[in-house]
């Protein structure tokens, strides 16, 4: 088995996160959601041939709009892509916030030539503020343009979701038979997941 570690520490050229398994591309761009020009919008795309998916979500009874959206679309157990942003949680933002998530999924679906119900959305950052949608939607175009199956692309995606984290976090394992599992995660505070 091959063990993945923090990308910054092992720049081998071999993807060690979400782009390690075949059939996936990723990107991370600076869309201008965060002040300061750092990466803040990530995209992970499943090029198939299959598009099965699963998810677990917070058990907090106050759920952010992207959680409500992603729970709904995952009832079909299929995802073509996941859009993730830092710089704003889009939580407690009312119907307008939910519409922002819907619009994000619609735009990603349009760019990827699929249906919005195959787009998962995740957000992280400050609770209670609307996302800067013009910047986010423009950034989605750049994110699609930047998609690649490389180590760099996976690391950019893992970096774009960071908030108070100090480094991207990725891991992967390859089974001796040749199939792989890869992943990325963010989280530094408000960190006691209870999932279902």
């Amino acid at each position: 088995q091959t063990t993945g570690t923090v990308a910054q520490e092992t720049s081998t050229g071999t993807p060690n996160g979400v782009t390690r398994p075949r059939g996936f591309r990723a990107s991370g761009v600076a869309a201008g959601i965060k002040a300061g020009g750092s990466l803040d919008l990530a995209l992970v795309v499943n090029d198939g041939p299959r598009r099965e998916a699963a998810g677990v979500f917070t058990t907090n009874q106050v759920k952010a709009a992207p959680v409500l959206w992603s729970e709904q679309v995952l009832r079909e157990r299929r995802l073509r892509a996941v859009v993730l942003n830092s710089g704003g949680a889009n939580a407690c933002t009312g119907p307008e916030g939910f519409q922002d998530t819907h619009t994000t999924a619609e735009r990603a679906a349009e760019l990827l030539d699929t249906g919005a119900i195959e787009i998962g959305v995740c957000s992280t950052g400050l609770i209670g503020q609307r996302l800067p949608m013009r910047a986010l939607l423009d950034g989605l175009g750049a994110a699609v343009d930047g998609l690649a199956d490389t180590e760099r692309a996976g690391t950019d995606a893992a970096t774009a979701v960071l908030t108070t984290d100090t480094r991207p976090k990725q891991a992967c394992r390859t089974h001796p038979d040749g199939w792989s599992v890869g992943g990325m995660v963010k989280g530094a505070g408000m960190l006691a997941p209870n999932l279902a």
């Binding site: 398994p21 992970v44 677990v56 949680a89 908030t163 394992r173 792989s180 992943g183 530094a188 960190l191």
Partner: protein, 205 residues
């Protein structure tokens, strides 16, 4: 907030993915408790492309998925806000798994335990206090607390001096043995430092 995306090129159908993810999450993401804050946004998504053309047995897939999730969780623990200690709290001898998890989580969330560890103080009294207020089945006369390999409290009384425990390193292992049953659980946490307070008074999410 914790966000995770996990991908695989194994051929696994959606229901199988969901079962494997639930199983993997239960032993990994849900066993991390830095500050008790279950976010409005916590999400883990698992996507399968099937591009390998290989269909593993569900147990085999769950095992590898769990390894990746455990690796990610360990990285979360080490990069948590203000963390100077990576603390593993293991509870064993509980009458049920939910008791073991509940005690470990409550101890992980206890401010007095976590601040003591920031000060490299193996304050077993605070650990015993946290265990006792957990609501789980506990018997003070059989309780045992071990920190970094040194048993400090056993069956109702201290059995070693605190200064015999070396907490100079980053990694801390706390073992609470209830001696009541067969169930155990480990929860990962960190200390509660000045850095955590500063981070969360400057960044208001």
């Amino acid at each position: 907030t914790m966000l995770a995306v996990v991908t695989t090129d194994a051929v696994v159908d959606g229901e199988g993915l969901q079962r494997s993810l639930l199983e993997a999450s239960r032993g990994t993401f849900e066993r991390l408790d830095v500050d008790g804050g279950t976010s409005t946004n916590d999400t883990v998504l698992l996507l399968s492309s099937g591009a390998s053309g290989l269909t593993p047995a569900e147990e085999e897939f769950t095992e590898l998925l769990t390894e990746v999730c455990a690796d990610l969780v360990r990285q979360l623990q080490h990069d948590a806000e203000g963390a100077t200690k990576a603390i593993d709290i293991t509870v064993r001898g509980a009458v049920s798994e939910s008791d073991a998890v509940g005690i470990a989580r409550l101890t992980a969330e206890d401010n007095l335990v976590c601040t003591a560890l920031f000060g490299s103080d193996p304050n077993w009294g605070r650990i015993v206090m946290a265990v006792g207020r957990s609501g789980a089945t506990v018997d003070a006369s059989s309780l045992e607390v071990t920190v970094n390999g040194v048993t400090l409290y056993s069956r109702g009384a201290p059995v070693a001096e605190r200064d015999t425990v070396d907490l100079s390193g980053r990694d801390v292992e706390i073992l609470v043995d209830l001696h009541l049953g067969e169930h155990s659980a480990t929860v990962l946490t960190t200390d509660l430092s000045h850095g955590y307070v500063e981070e969360n008074s400057a960044y208001s999410s």
